[in-house]
């Protein structure tokens, strides 16, 4: 199902500036972690394949072991049994410090060094890797630009930045050595909701460009759905409950735990993953200004949408024909009811539904980028989509659903 990807928008990243390391896949092979002195494993037999260049979110209630699972990748927590491969190499064969320098690491507390300037913070890993001074300089400038901070910020101390700016510097620092894998442990957890939303969007834009393999830990299912190409839901006792794309997860939760965790509003959450263009729109009979109404009435017979949409010569919607309009000889230039709301093919489905409900209209014309009519969306179409057989929801006739109308 392609719907999960569509929100990501930019599928054609701009050409990379300078050399760039290839993202590597990460695979968990029957990984178990038992902390010393514990009898119950924190993570039990975890097997996951993270394709290179995707964001995989580990999500679960607190105490489910999701952070433990992440930390075994850079060996800040040692694996008890099983193995994790980065590309083809086992992390167990690597020197922990060298391994960590090849991975971006972002944590909830951000963890910037308060005694070092922004520039020095960003330069941490390149310096550990022994890059020469000029190369470090260039990289710092490049990264400040990438995260949208002005160049003069490099001499500030973290204490002089806002929370959002600090988080951006944290991401820049993690990206400094262009690591093939990024580990992000609740990176936006300590940020206020408004800034968090913005930082999430920024990171997704960034990711569309840099295409890292990202392992992202959160306890927030909404964040997981928004950020993840894939989501691994981990339940108490460190067991994997389900590993799927956000759309799959919302359509067919593997068990009661997942269904519960995903939330009662999972149908609405699915809508926020889609754009209007992802759904099969209906077609309304079109009426051109000045056209005889008899022709329009003929088109209305057996049409999907029982109302005719007036469009101009460029096929841009003008309004809907009423019975009174149809009683006239020709199609009027100003029909009784306007076309509002007009939706765009690129609108997020959830917003489109909201527009429909708010304006209390049954049908809304959808236009393409040029403003030309592309189809008609109704609450009925959305509800039919959500209850379609592929959604594996109990089959019910769309007509029985009280939602439409």
């Amino acid at each position: 199902m392609a719907a999960g990807d569509s929100i990501r928008g930019n599928q054609n990243p701009s050409p990379p500036s300078g050399e760039r390391q290839k993202a590597l896949s990460v695979s968990y092979r029957d990984v178990t972690k038992i902390y010393p002195g514990q009898t119950e494993p924190a993570i039990r037999d975890l097997s996951l394949e993270l394709p290179a260049g995707e964001i995989c979110v580990l999500v679960g209630p607190s105490g489910s072991g999701k952070t433990t699972a992440m930390r075994m990748v850079n060996r800040t927590v040692e694996i008890t049994e099983g193995d994790i491969l980065i590309g083809d190499t086992s992390v167990r064969e690597r020197d922990p410090a060298a391994l960590r320098r090849e991975m971006g690491y972002v944590i909830q507390q951000i963890g910037l060094f308060p005694h070092r300037t922004v520039g020095d913070n960003i330069a941490t890993v390149p310096r550990l890797l022994g890059w020469d001074r000029a190369r470090v300089e260039r990289r710092v400038v490049e990264l400040l630009d990438l995260i949208g901070l002005e160049a003069e910020m490099r001499d500030r101390y973290p204490g002089q930045l806002s929370g959002g700016q600090q988080q951006r510097v944290g991401v820049a620092r993690a990206l400094a050595a262009d690591p093939p894998v990024m580990l992000m442990d609740e990176p936006f957890g300590a940020i206020d909701p408004i800034s968090r939303e913005r930082l999430q969007n920024e990171f997704l834009r960034l990711q569309a460009e840099i295409r890292k393999t990202v392992l992202f830990v959160t306890h927030d299912i909404d964040e997981a759905i928004k950020m993840g190409d894939r989501i691994a839901i981990i339940k108490q006792g460190g067991r994997l409950a389900q590993y799927a794309t956000p759309a799959e997860l919302l359509m067919s939760p593997a068990d009661d735990f997942v269904e519960d965790f995903v939330g009662a509003d999972r149908a609405l959450k699915r809508l926020s993953l889609m754009r209007v263009r992802d759904i099969d729109l209906w077609q309304a009979p079109l009426a051109y200004v000045g056209q005889p109404t008899s022709e329009v009435r003929a088109k209305l017979e057996g049409a999907e949408v029982p109302h005719a949409l007036v469009v101009d010569s460029e096929r841009r919607p003008i309004g809907w024909l009423s019975e009174a309009d149809l009683a006239q000889e020709t199609v009027p230039a100003r029909p009784d009811s306007g076309p509002e709301p007009i939706l765009d093919l690129d609108d997020v489905m959830r917003d489109a539904l909201s527009d429909l409900l708010q304006t209390e209209t049954q049908y809304a014309p959808v236009t393409d980028a040029q403003g030309r009519i592309a189809g008609v969306l109704s609450v009925e179409i959305i509800s039919e989509f959500l209850t379609s057989p592929e959604a594996k929801v109990e089959e019910r006739a769309a007509a029985e659903r009280p939602l439409a109308g």
């Binding site: 320098r101 944590i107 951000i110 308060p114 101390y157 620092r173």
Partner: protein, 261 residues
């Protein structure tokens, strides 16, 4: 040997440094401060002051070196902390004059004895402050540093110690100021210092004011210098709009204690 050493000790109040002849009534009457006498006799205090300075500097430097090594040693071996705290604590409780006398049979009279005792006194304060400073490093930077591939040593020297610096210097300040005070007793170990003129004539007010004044001035100067060093070494601290800073300002201005909501 002990007897010989003891015989050489000055006895309180018995050595007169007042030159009662040829001076005006001030000295005769033991006035609050005799300027004439002070002007004529200031050179008496130069050697004791220099001795005092050496005692303080050497003791604090030695104490810092030892305490620092202990702190670094116990940093990744937490079980050593109670041992070291206990050890330095015991040393700290020994009365200073008793300490000098305990050392006399081993190291004899002189600067060495005084420095050993003074150094021992600094250990507790400096050690505890370094340990506390390292323990108070916020977990974020430590975790991030480790996660970015810093070795334990890189983490200690690059992150933990710089962040502990304000507390380390705070310990040094207390240790230095108290060493300036305790070093006035070094005269009982035969090491001179400002204790020499002080105990030479405890009843002569002008003498006490001058010798005591020099000691106080020395303590204040060291304190100010260390504070300045902290400002220079930790410029990032001024960048932090932390609550402590705001609070201090508020109290200075006599404003009511801020309430946290």
């Amino acid at each position: 040997m002990t007897a010989a050493a003891l015989a050489g000790l000055p006895l309180l109040g018995q050595v007169e440094i007042r030159n009662r002849t040829g001076e005006g009534g001030c000295v005769q009457d033991n006035g609050a401060f005799c300027f004439g006498w002070a002007a004529d006799n200031l050179d008496r205090y130069v050697t004791p002051t220099l001795e005092h300075l050496v005692l303080v500097l050497v003791s604090v430097a030695l104490g810092f070196t030892i305490a620092f090594c202990m702190a670094v040693l116990s940093h990744r071996r937490r079980w050593l902390v109670p041992t070291f705290t206990g050890l330095t604590g015991v040393l700290y409780t020994v009365p200073s004059i008793a300490f000098f006398f305990l050392l006399l049979p081993i190291t004899g009279r002189g600067t060495t004895t005084a420095i050993i005792a003074l150094t021992a006194y600094t250990l507790q304060i400096i050690y505890r402050n370094i340990v506390a400073g390292l323990a108070n490093v916020p977990p974020g930077p430590r975790d991030a540093g480790r996660g970015m591939g810093m070795t334990n040593n890189q983490l200690l020297w690059g992150v933990e110690l710089p962040l502990a610096l304000p507390e380390i210097i705070a310990g040094l300040r207390v240790a230095t100021v108290s060493t300036v005070a305790i070093a006035t007793l070094a005269v009982f170990a035969g090491a001179g210092g400002l204790g020499d003129p002080i105990y030479a004539d405890l009843t002569f007010k002008t003498n006490i004011v001058i010798a005591g004044g020099i000691a106080i001035l020395m303590a204040i100067s060291f304190d100010a210098l260390l504070l300045l060093a902290q400002r220079l070494l930790a410029p990032w601290r001024r960048a932090e709009p932390g609550p402590r800073r705001r609070h201090r300002l508020a109290t200075l201005r006599g404003a009511p204690r801020p309430t946290w909501t």
